[in-house]
Symmetry: C2
Amino acid sequence: MKRWQDIVLPIPDWLNTWAAEISPTLPEVDQRMAAVIDLARINVQHGGGPFAAAVFDQTSGELIAPGVNWVVPGKSSLLHAEVMALALAEQTLGSYELASYGSFELVTSAEPCCQCLGVLQWTGIASIVCGARSEDVEAIGFDEGQRAADWVQGLQRRGISVTREVMRAQAIEVLQSYRGEIYNSRLLTKP
Amino acid sequence: MKRWQDIVLPIPDWLNTWAAEISPTLPEVDQRMAAVIDLARINVQHGGGPFAAAVFDQTSGELIAPGVNWVVPGKSSLLHAEVMALALAEQTLGSYELASYGSFELVTSAEPCCQCLGVLQWTGIASIVCGARSEDVEAIGFDEGQRAADWVQGLQRRGISVTREVMRAQAIEVLQSYRGEIYNSRLLTKP
């Protein structure tokens, strides 16, 4: 009897529909962030968490892979927006090392939690662009987990550039409109 | 056209064969670590990295899910041993929150890198038991990534107990016998 099978992390069906309706190339960082914030808003309407992310080709602005927080519907704590986008990008390119295929940017509607911060370091991503700050995420009850205090400088020392507060106000708006479950929050369950 | 499909993280076929040959219940922590170190050794023979892990039921010692470092064969930087074991455990139990199903222990042949440390915080794991120390991993050229300096205390503050240096010498032996690729090492590629 085969007990364990390949790990399958489901992505929502509508993700491809969403992507088909936006411009496949978004040359300006504000356009990329606006698309990602819009994706977070749509994700909440579909029962996901108020977070989205996407991997773009840094040179052309081409969308390589989108991601949404799908932890509860997908029954996996791995399914944070950044992890989904990065894993889909690796799957699309067929490699564990994005840097072998070009220079890629992770745009995320909110600063990465401990999981996404850890995961992104091994993907070969060149840069990360964030909307809401961690304190905005914590203000609605989510937990960012244990991270190095100087995580921004730490990424930069490793050659990953970090841009913060891009369209922060719009990103906060999605967070604050969220009325769904605050899952996996150790801050709340284990004070 | 469907562009993105569910994320599939492959596990090696022989993992089920290996598990069928060991005792399904390992009541002592040294037995659990010995099995995990043995799994790391076998993984290297199959072309994986020199790391293994497993999730056990803390009360019965029952093996819930094994994991090996399968980054290169599986073409995904997510496929660290701890991530595979935790994701397989969640998939086996059908939940993003292991704590809802009991008290589970992650046994790992080496202390967790930034990715595994981040991932484990959202799984609902109750404890982590480590073999080799981070300096043992770095001594053979692997990179642990950016972590909080006080990650052990940080996990404990969050209710996750940490035990270190269980059968460290045997775990180091597997690390030092490794002659394969040192992939994803930002320390080496971006000094």
